[in-house]
């Protein structure tokens, strides 16, 4: 087909009614509306509210990392300071000194975030790449260290607490029941998602992509790369501030931990695990991250170890994140070759599960041994064990070693088959 339209031609086609896009956004909105009808328990509502704020946070982070190539280790500065301004504003609303409806509070947080973006971004965006990463780390530490120096604003060790139920509710929305909080977060989450997606299509969003890919050339055609980074960072800080304010409404307390380095790591892990190359990647990542933090931390003390291991494995073997795994498999499916992979997938998953089971058992038993309060007895997958005896260690060790060996051979087979499929697809494309 010599005259087949090229891929970029497709993108530039004038399409006032993009049915596919309306469908996707419509479905997203419907799912967000319907979720509380399916999961009614209080725990599920809290979980989903946290996911909503994390989605905004991770997406705002991805404006930096994924869209503009800026690796930041201090994004919590903007969400945290936004949350602090929001909590003080909310307290003033509660006293009746500011006539602002509480549902609009995220706007205050966003503006505060953007303000600090203007302030700190001026310094950080002077640099790019590795140095940018280090400076953001330094600024993050600076703000965190200041948090204990100014107790009037940061509330010292205990933080600043508040009450989201104000004497004069707006249109009868008291925000007392957590279902109302969920819908407020869902609304802001949806709005932010749409706005951030729209941003990727603006001239600034496009040139930010160019700055990520080839800053030298962008400078050559007359753009100031530092200005592009600066503007992007301010916008990103705005959305981070919205996430911070929503968190303040959700938990009704803001502490110095909100501006800490650990908090900055959250959106980084979420965005990367989800996939920074795709707009929807960080959304997947945020859901998984909150699942790890909230759900898994109830089951095991070692959840951070699992999260860290998951992250490192993703960096090593799937640097495009889960979104890229989905996209790659969809492409194979498109060419009708996914069936060739099914046995390989089965073996890899099976061997992986065995290895992982052995690993979990070893970790959990070590924790039991070192825990002074515990007596070495515990449970893994509902199976009771006594870590002071030899047998459970033998079982776990066997699982780990045998699984690891099987995984290695299964992985090799998978890579071979995958490589062949890639080659076939490439050949078809050039033919």
């Amino acid at each position: 087909m010599p005259f087949a339209p090229t891929r970029s031609g497709d993108l530039l086609r004038f399409a006032p009614m993009n049915v596919g896009r309306w469908f996707i956004w419509g479905t997203t909105a419907l799912v967000m509306l319907a979720l509380p009808l399916v999961f009614r328990q209080g725990f599920a509502l809290t979980l989903m509210s946290s996911m909503g704020t994390m989605i905004i946070f991770a997406l705002s982070y991805n404006m930096l990392l994924g869209q503009s190539g800026m690796l930041s280790f201090g994004h919590a500065v903007y969400s945290g300071l936004g949350a602090y301004v929001a909590v003080h504003t909310l307290n003033l609303i509660g006293k009746g000194q500011i006539p602002l409806p509480v549902p609009l509070l995220p706007l205050v947080g966003g503006l505060a975030g953007a303000f600090f973006g203007v302030l700190f971004g001026y310094v950080t965006t002077k640099k790019s790449g590795t140095t940018f990463a280090m400076i953001t780390l330094g600024i993050g530490e600076m703000v965190f260290a200041s948090a204990l120096m100014f107790p009037a604003f940061f509330g010292g060790e205990g933080g600043v607490s508040t009450n989201r139920v104000v004497p004069k509710p707006f249109l009868g929305i008291t925000l007392g029941p957590s279902i109302q909080v969920y819908y407020l977060i869902a609304l802001w989450c949806f709005l932010s998602m749409v706005l951030m997606y729209a941003w990727t299509a603006t001239p600034l969003g496009r040139i930010a992509n160019a700055v990520r890919d080839n800053p030298e050339r962008v400078a050559f055609i007359g753009y100031d790369t530092q200005r592009v980074r600066y503007l992007t960072l301010i916008l990103s800080a705005f959305f981070a501030g919205i996430a911070g304010a929503l968190q303040c409404i959700n938990f009704e307390i803001v502490t110095a931990e909100n501006v800490s380095a650990a908090r900055s790591g959250g959106p980084l892990i979420a965005a990367f695990v989800g996939g920074v190359g795709f707009f929807f990647g960080p959304i997947i990542g945020a859901v998984i991250f909150i699942f790890f933090v909230v759900a898994l931390s109830d089951f095991t003390k070692a959840w951070q170890l699992y999260l860290g291991l998951f992250f490192v494995l993703m960096v090593m073997f799937a640097p495009g994140g889960i979104a890229s795994l989905i996209a790659l498999n969809l492409r194979v499916l498109e060419h009708g070759m996914l069936a060739r992979l099914r046995w390989h997938y089965l073996w890899v998953l099976l061997a992986g599960a065995v290895t992982f089971a052995g690993f979990i058992a070893v970790v959990e038993m070590t924790y039991q041994l070192n825990d002074i309060a515990a007596d070495g007895k515990g449970k893994v997958f509902g199976i009771a064990f006594d870590a002071q005896t030899f047998t459970p260690w033998l079982v776990a060790g066997t699982l780990l070693v045998a699984g690891g060996l099987a995984l290695r051979s299964a992985w090799r087979g998978f890579r071979r088959e995958w490589g062949e499929i890639e080659q076939t697809i490439l050949d078809r494309g050039s033919a």
Partner: protein, 315 residues
């Protein structure tokens, strides 16, 4: 005078410890372009390894064996982790070391528990060495300075006087040419990474005794080390040395000084009351602001001299 001398000695010894850490970081960065986010984690590993080894074989053998063990861990990390990630670029490498820092911290918590371990110096290094007027100067601080200076001399000699040092220096600027001359550059990289982490491990063996050995020790020193690397100039060993001493002294002096803007205003005759705008900022004393000072220095440096004290790179 007494205050000045003792603070200076403490500042210099702390600065030298910082240099032990930042030298490895700088070497690895200038060699491989990898900013090792997990560098302070290797420092922590050094302290914990030395503690465990010290229980069995005593402090002195552990002083040598623990850095070697840390270096072996570093070599394994480079061989099986970093080398895999290298093809995805510097951001992926940085993310890998970020995840690694997370993992090492969790590993330490898993093996040695959450509380601090009782890691102490042998009796010969305990007690004061001499007194400055009335302030005693601990023997261990002096030992710390001695080790750091010996290490500095050793690095200098290895880099300038040995064959492998010359290869490393050449691979810094012209890796392709060095490879073309028949040297195994990936192995040189592994060696540098192992060496750099071993230096961090050595700093940990010393620093673990001087401060506390607990799972938060990596986080508490990690970001300061980055500040040192940026202020000194990315990739400059001499710059890292000056910046380490500078930051070491700033922190020690600031902790002991109780001056604030308030005392400055009083000296020039301005009347500042609790009603004045930003009062909580004016009344802040230097000792309260001490934890923030290195980062303020970092920000000022980036505004006025972005390449650092002795750096040559603009980015």
């Amino acid at each position: 005078m007494e205050f000045f001398l003792s603070s200076l000695l403490n500042g210099v010894s702390y600065g030298l410890l910082l240099f032990m850490l930042s030298s490895g970081l700088t070497l690895i960065f200038s060699m491989m372009g990898v900013l090792n986010f997990a560098h302070a984690s290797f420092y922590m590993l050094g302290a914990f390894f030395a503690y465990t080894m010290g229980l069995k074989i005593g402090f002195w053998p552990a002083l040598f064996l623990a850095p070697i063990a840390v270096g072996l861990v570093g070599a394994a990390v480079e061989r099986f982790g970093l080398r895999t990630v290298h093809k995805y670029g510097h951001v992926a490498e940085l993310l890998f070391t970020f995840g690694l820092a997370f993992l090492i911290e969790e590993f330490v918590k898993l093996v040695w528990g959450l509380a601090a371990v009782p890691y102490r110096a042998p009796t010969i290094l305990e007690g004061p060495l001499f007194t400055i007027f009335t302030t005693p100067f601990p023997r261990f601080r002096a030992f710390m300075m001695l080790v750091a200076v010996l290490m500095l001399v050793a690095i200098y000699l290895v880099l300038t006087r040995t064959r492998i040092g010359l290869v490393i220096q050449a691979a810094l600027t012209h890796p392709d040419m060095v490879e073309a001359l028949g040297h195994n550059v990936p192995r040189v990289f592994m060696l540098v990474f192992a060496g750099g982490t071993a230096l961090a491990g050595l700093a940990g063996v010393i620093g673990g005794v001087a401060f506390v050995t607990d799972p938060t020790m990596a986080v508490s020193v990690g970001s300061i080390v980055f500040v040192v690397a940026v202020v000194g100039g990315m990739g400059s060993l001499a710059g890292a040395f000056i910046a380490s001493l500078l930051i070491g002294c700033i922190q020690t002096f600031a902790v002991a000084l109780d001056y604030s803007f308030l005392s400055l205003f009083k000296a020039i005759g301005l009347n500042v009351t609790p009603d004045t705008f930003f009062y909580s900022f004016w009344k802040l004393t230097l000792s309260q602001a001490a934890p923030v000072l290195p980062y303020v220095l970092l920000v000022l440096m980036l505004i006025f001299r972005p390449k650092g004290l002795l750096g040559t790179r603009e980015d």
